[in-house]
Amino acid sequence: MTTTALPLRRWRFAVVVHDWGGRVGVILLLAIIVVAIFGPAFAPHPSTATVGIPGLGPSPGYPLGLDFLGRDVLSRTLDGGRSTLLLGGSATLITYVIGMGVGLAAGHKRSWIDPVLMRSVDVVLSFPALLIMLLAVTAFGNSRVVLVSATALVLFPGVARIVRTATVEVATRAYVEAAVVRAEGSFAIIRREILPNVAGPIIADLGIRFSWAIILIASVNYLGLGLQPPTADWGLMISENRSIITSNPWAVMAPALMLALLIVAVNLVGDSYVRQLGHSTGKP
């Protein structure tokens, strides 16, 4: 397996902009983040206010027309990015915090945590991801906290497994053993010796996890079981405007396009990083 060739401190922005896929991805991703942060400030109308006839096509004052309740599609599309990025981002963050904690613990100590972790991973992987999300919603309701936690529950075992594998490999290296001989604490060894050397494979996976988090949450929202109206969310907007796809396709296509661009951008950046990682380890 690839042990990392890129220690954490050398991981820079430059890594993903060395090829065209990475460049396009970074530009797209930055553009979407800018839209999500500053877009709502430029929204011509309040995102939850009815301003005209439901299903009105693009017309002066409403560049993307109006949705099924007569709300401005452009304003809602600008508004919908925040929840998508925030929920997806926090789910990914929690996934990594838990996944890395469990993975490092299992890989470094190789105690009872190890078999327990591996079997829990098997159990989570024996369920369709969406089914876990729906069961979580059934059990705990559809708050943002539940959406984020359920997503992290679905995704963390994969991270834990990768971190464990990388840690087991690094833990037997001479520099780790040297640190043990120097009587350094577990925490210091993990932070100074192990973590920088397992960072590569962990970061390589970040793109996939982030896009899965976005897709899972958007899917639950699409099914009407996540964020509730009148929230402006891309997944929710696609489903609630289905009935007016003939009168104003933009009400459906604008959020669909934004989601598609976001996911493609995340995947492009992730793939580009993986390619770069492969390059420096001498693999094709």
Binding site: D122, L131, T138, A139, Y222, I245, V252, A256
Partner: protein
């Protein structure tokens, strides 16, 4: 967590234990072991589903009837649904019932006093409809994945590869509802040649309106085939770089024969796993796609049950979907082991 670890111990010890003594053949041992693990996983899945659906504050009867229900009505429904018994007893009787294909009674239908509250009676038709959708998709999925993946692998880095791989990369990443919506936009809103919904009237066979199935099947294919192509392609590239392929070529064996006889056969074994992953994906993907096209399958059934907080229906649909998921995994493992003799001894 305790349940999980206990089950895991059972999974690793129980099956191999008594088999090792009586039947020493590694292949049989592997099959029995794999089936045993699958059975335990299924049991753990059923326990987790039961816990998840019983964790609600208040019970199913309260949730369905609402907080304002009179005690006598509530008591009656609790009695009907067996909620007055302990959790363990309820789980065991639920599990026992499922072995006889009895999934209990729909909480909502009981509350409304509808006569058709038996889940076993109502879940059959959505299951059959979903099976048809999945079967049609599978029928197209396997040849498409293999042919396109192998072609992309053979022509790696050339125009044909790009023409296959780039769309595959994009399609495999997009969520089903985005792909499905885009297809509806193109083929219904713009071209108006295909219907945007695959709604069936009760008792109507999906085959009576095949045109309506084109878009749902295409949506599932777009995501699953896209993901499969990438994996088959890289498998093919890897096999083509192996020594035995190089030596076959150096020996002057015709390229056609090298590919069909040497490369393809060896690239096929991992493809079984890839296709199994795609079939497993269908179990989750079908939930979304059925919802996009309002197709009356098990996915729509599950989503409606979750929306109505019909706990017993959620349990039934979730257990069935989880079981299908696990069974696909087992079958794939068994097929792979019988295709690649090497693995038979390696795994035992």
């Amino acid at each position: 967590m305790a349940i999980v670890s206990k089950a895991a111990e059972m999974a690793t010890q129980a099956p191999s234990f008594d088999v090792a003594r009586s039947v020493p053949h590694p292949a049989v041992r592997f099959v029995v072991r794999r089936l045993g693990i699958g059975l335990v996983t299924l049991l753990v899945a059923s326990i987790l589903i039961f816990i998840a659906t019983n964790i609600l504050p208040g019970n199913a009867a309260v949730v369905v009837l609402g907080r304002g229900a009179t005690p006598s009505v509530l008591h009656h429904l609790e009695n009907e649904l067996g909620l007055d018994r302990s959790v363990v007893v309820r789980y065991l009787s639920w599990l026992g019932g499922m072995l006889h294909a009895n999934f209990g009674h729909s909480a909502v239908a009981e509350a409304e006093g509808r006569p058709d509250s038996s889940i076993s009676a109502t879940i059959g038709s959505p299951l059959a409809d979903s099976a048809i959708l999945a079967a049609l998709t599978t029928l197209l999925l396997i040849p498409l994945t293999l042919v396109l993946g192998v072609l992309a692998g053979l022509f790696a880095g050339r125009k044909l590869d790009h023409a296959i791989s780039i769309p595959a990369l994009i399609m495999s990443g997009l969520p089903e509802f985005v792909t499905g919506t885009a297809l509806i936009f193109v083929f219904f809103t713009e071209l108006n040649i295909l219907p945007p919904v695959a709604l069936l009237s009760p008792g109507e066979s999906p085959f009576s309106n095949l045109k309506a199935l084109i878009l749902p099947v295409s949506t599932l294919l777009a995501v699953a085939v896209g993901a499969g192509i990438r994996q088959v392609r890289s498998g093919m590239i890897e096999v083509l770089q192996r020594d035995f392929v190089r030596f076959a070529r150096l020996n002057g064996i015709a390229e056609r024969r090298v590919i069909l006889r040497y490369a393809l056969r060896n690239a096929l074994a991992p493809s079984v796993q890839i296709i199994a992953q795609n079939l497993q994906y269908l179990v989750g993907g079908i939930i979304i796609v059925e919802s996009v096209f309002t197709y009356p399958g098990i996915g729509t059934y599950l989503v409606n049950a979750v929306t109505a907080r019909d706990v017993t229906e959620v349990q039934a649909a979730a257990v069935i979907l989880a079981a299908v998921y696990i069974v696909i995994n087992i079958i794939a493992d068994l097929i792979v082991v019988f295709l690649v003799p090497k693995l038979r001894t390696a795994m035992s």
